[in-house]
């Protein structure tokens, strides 16, 4: 599995919850905490389930979500 990390710029989030809707693994939720503007910002729960599809980053109107994906190099399989 690739190493995926999702970073959310909390200050830019306006809690539209588009990312919550589009996440196929349903690992994004609105936090019970608020940012300084008073919005319940998006946060990632079980990050280990993230597939790196980037739907959340694509759909975010505020460009507040970034993904970094570190490719795991698989050991070459022996070919018969």
């Amino acid at each position: 599995m690739d190493q995926v990390s999702v970073s959310i710029d909390v200050m830019r989030c306006k809690a539209c919850s588009y990312c919550v809707d589009v996440c196929p693994k349903k690992i994004i939720e609105l936090s019970s905490q608020t940012n300084s503007k008073g919005y319940h910002y998006a946060s990632v729960g079980a990050a280990e389930n993230c597939t790196g599809c980037r739907f959340c980053a694509i759909v975010c109107p505020e460009l507040a979500i970034q993904l970094s994906i570190v490719k795991q190099v698989m050991p070459a399989k022996s070919v018969r």
């Binding site: 539209c16 588009y18 759909v59 109107p61």
Partner: protein, 357 residues
């Protein structure tokens, strides 16, 4: 030029299609869920020698539209519900001055500031005036990304033909959703029909005037009469709709835009169960496609409007259907999106309640 299938969001498809229709001016202010439309224009318009300007407000934007339209240019602005409310005074001015333009409303949930989920809560605002005075905008309601492109392209022709603002009434779902789209061929700006009334400099001709209001009382009364004649001819010539399964339908679902494509799935499900259910999808919301209902009067028992609002289209359907036909409503605003199953359940409930047996 080969027209290839492209995967685009409704917002992007509409923006590109507008450019291909010869539109070179966009004035607007960012708002979700309209954002991609404005962003696309910001990137693309400079590439084709156009002008993109992010105004300080929606009020400024609609008045910039007035300016560009006065000069005879194809011009577009786009916003979402609350921003469109700010533009209403300008829209009334545009209609009064008989200026063609395209105004796109990617509706979001209201009332008030609301939130950014899709809605169809601006039906009444769009079709019944919105701004002050006796005027109409011609309102087109796409139901797919393809139609976002097609109706924007054609919308400019309709606007030019009647010298009237055309509104594309879409919503956040259609704007954000990505679908395969075939874009129209580009029109060269030079090939667009000349507008003899436009304010383009009067060196070799008499001067043209574009006025937000006539100078005398009598002129204003005459202008109102003239506008009425124009609107009457739009009512006769421009009604558009799509009908499905209507031949033997006893219950007809009436829905536009997003809720229409969901309702179509529900109607297909009902047909599979043998229920005599049909669908009317208005494409022009103003003028409302009354003609679609004329042939249904003798065969249909009842109507069901499915809308992502509190039933704003019900009265138009009631007027078109005739007073003796019940018109029911399913839906509400606030960002709620019906599932095909929920619409189907409502259809079955009405059907089994002997309404359309």
């Amino acid at each position: 030029m080969m027209n290839k299938l492209k995967l685009m969001s409704g917002n992007e498809a509409l923006a590109e299609s507008a450019i291909r229709a010869g539109c070179r001016f966009f004035f607007g202010y960012p708002i979700t869920p309209q954002g991609e439309l404005l962003e696309y224009m910001a990137r693309r318009l400079p590439e084709v020698g156009g002008t993109f300007l992010q105004s300080e407000s929606e009020i400024a934007a609609i008045n910039m539209v007035f300016g560009a339209a006065s000069a005879g240019m194809r011009v577009i602005t786009a916003s979402s519900s609350t921003g469109i409310s700010l533009m209403q005074e300008g829209l009334s001015f545009l209609a009064t001055a008989e200026l063609p333009c395209l105004v796109v409303n990617i509706m979001r949930a209201g009332p008030g500031l609301g939130r950014v989920k899709p809605s169809q809560g601006d039906y009444l605002q769009a079709t019944k005036g919105g701004g002050h005075g006796d005027y109409h905008t011609i309102v087109l309601a796409p139901a797919t990304a393809q139609e976002m492109a097609d109706l924007a392209f054609e919308g400019f022709s309709i606007a030019d033909k009647y010298r009237n603002p055309v509104m594309i009434l879409s919503d956040g779902m259609l704007g954000q959703m990505m679908e395969p789209v075939i874009l129209p061929d580009s029109v060269s700006v030079d090939q667009l029909p000349q507008k003899s009334w436009a304010v383009t400099g009067s060196r070799d001709r008499g001067r043209n005037l574009v006025l937000a209001a006539p100078y005398t009382d009598d002129e204003l009364i005459e202008l109102n009469a003239e506008l009425d004649r124009k609107y009457a001819s739009v009512r006769v010539q421009e009604q558009r709709w799509e009908g499905k399964f209507l031949d033997d339908a006893r219950l007809v679902v009436v829905a536009f835009g997003s809720s229409a494509r969901i309702s179509e799935d529900a109607v297909v499900m009902a047909r599979e169960r043998g229920l005599k259910v049909g669908l009317v999808r208005p494409i022009t919301l103003w003028p409302f496609p009354e003609k679609a209902f004329e042939t249904l009067r003798s065969t249909v028992d009842a109507y069901l409007t499915v809308e992502m609002n509190s039933g704003q289209m019900v009265e138009d359907v009631r007027l078109a259907a005739g007073v003796d036909k019940p018109v029911y409503h399913f839906g509400h605003g606030g960002g709620w999106i019906p599932s095909a199953q929920a619409v189907y359940d409502e259809v079955v409930r009405l059907h089994d309640g002997s309404i359309a047996r």
